[in-house]
């Protein structure tokens, strides 16, 4: 059962990772992806909006798909919302498995699917007062599509 969390607060990556191995000896590897807010072009802050209720449901479904495709011992997805400053973390994906391939592949799958299948929207605020909604990227769709066939 995956741990899914949507929150404004910062998270503790080391504690989250430790929780996936605590008290068990069947974990051979923990893979992680930490998404961080870049400060490109004078970005002052990123404001993350989401659809409460549907967000948790969509993330749970994506995590369940990862657990169906790979033999995971644990899975954690934490996505922040609200105002995020450059240099701060936005999203954490952790996957644990007996072997590295399942952990690494499922981690990449989760972040690729999350970007196209979970209802979050980013708005960029700039130091000069400008603000704009981030447009969806074609490369994100392409990255999600490469997982559409189940692995052999």
């Amino acid at each position: 059962m995956a741990r899914i969390q949507v929150q404004e607060a910062l998270f503790d990556m080391a504690a989250e990772s430790a929780a996936l191995t605590a008290g068990r000896v069947d974990v051979g590897g923990v893979a992680s992806f930490l998404g961080v807010c870049r400060g490109d072009d004078g970005l002052a802050a990123m404001v993350l909006e989401h659809y409460p209720g549907m967000t948790e449901r969509a993330l749970g479904r994506i995590a369940a798909e990862a657990e169906a495709r790979w033999p995971l011992t644990g899975c954690t997805v934490i996505h922040r919302v609200g105002r995020i400053l450059p240099g701060e973390p936005i999203v954490l994906v952790l996957t644990a498995s007996a072997h590295r391939a399942a952990a690494l592949e499922s981690c990449a799958f989760l972040i690729d699917w999350l970007k196209t299948k979970a209802p979050f929207w980013k708005r960029e605020e700039f130091a000069d007062g400008d603000a704009r909604w981030v447009a969806a990227k074609h490369e994100d769709d392409a990255a999600a599509l490469r997982w559409s066939a189940k692995p052999e």
Binding site: I90, K115, P119, K122, W133
Partner: protein, 83 residues
């Protein structure tokens, strides 16, 4: 029928949600979108480019031909940009 708006649709329309009772001939997401667009200048601006709009019915992503009915929660929003 409860309608929710997110991101720039919410900004253009000026409300995050509204309760509506469309006429009975409105049966799917595309029909509802066209009907909502007639409600105000803000709605018309928000729904002007159908290609930039996605929808969810009862918190699941829905295609334009997905049926809609009284009591549904229907959301309209731009393509998602999380992660």
């Amino acid at each position: 029928m409860r309608i929710l708006y997110f991101a720039w649709l919410r900004q253009k329309i000026g409300v995050a949600e509204e309760e509506v009772a469309p006429p009975p001939e409105i049966r799917d997401v595309a029909g509802l979108r066209e009907w909502l667009a007639t409600r105000s200048a803000g709605h018309a601006a928000a729904f002007a480019d159908a290609k930039q709009i996605r929808a969810a019915v009862n918190q699941d992503f829905a295609t334009p031909d997905h049926p809609v009915a009284a009591g549904d929660e229907i959301a309209f929003f731009p393509p998602v940009t999380g992660g």
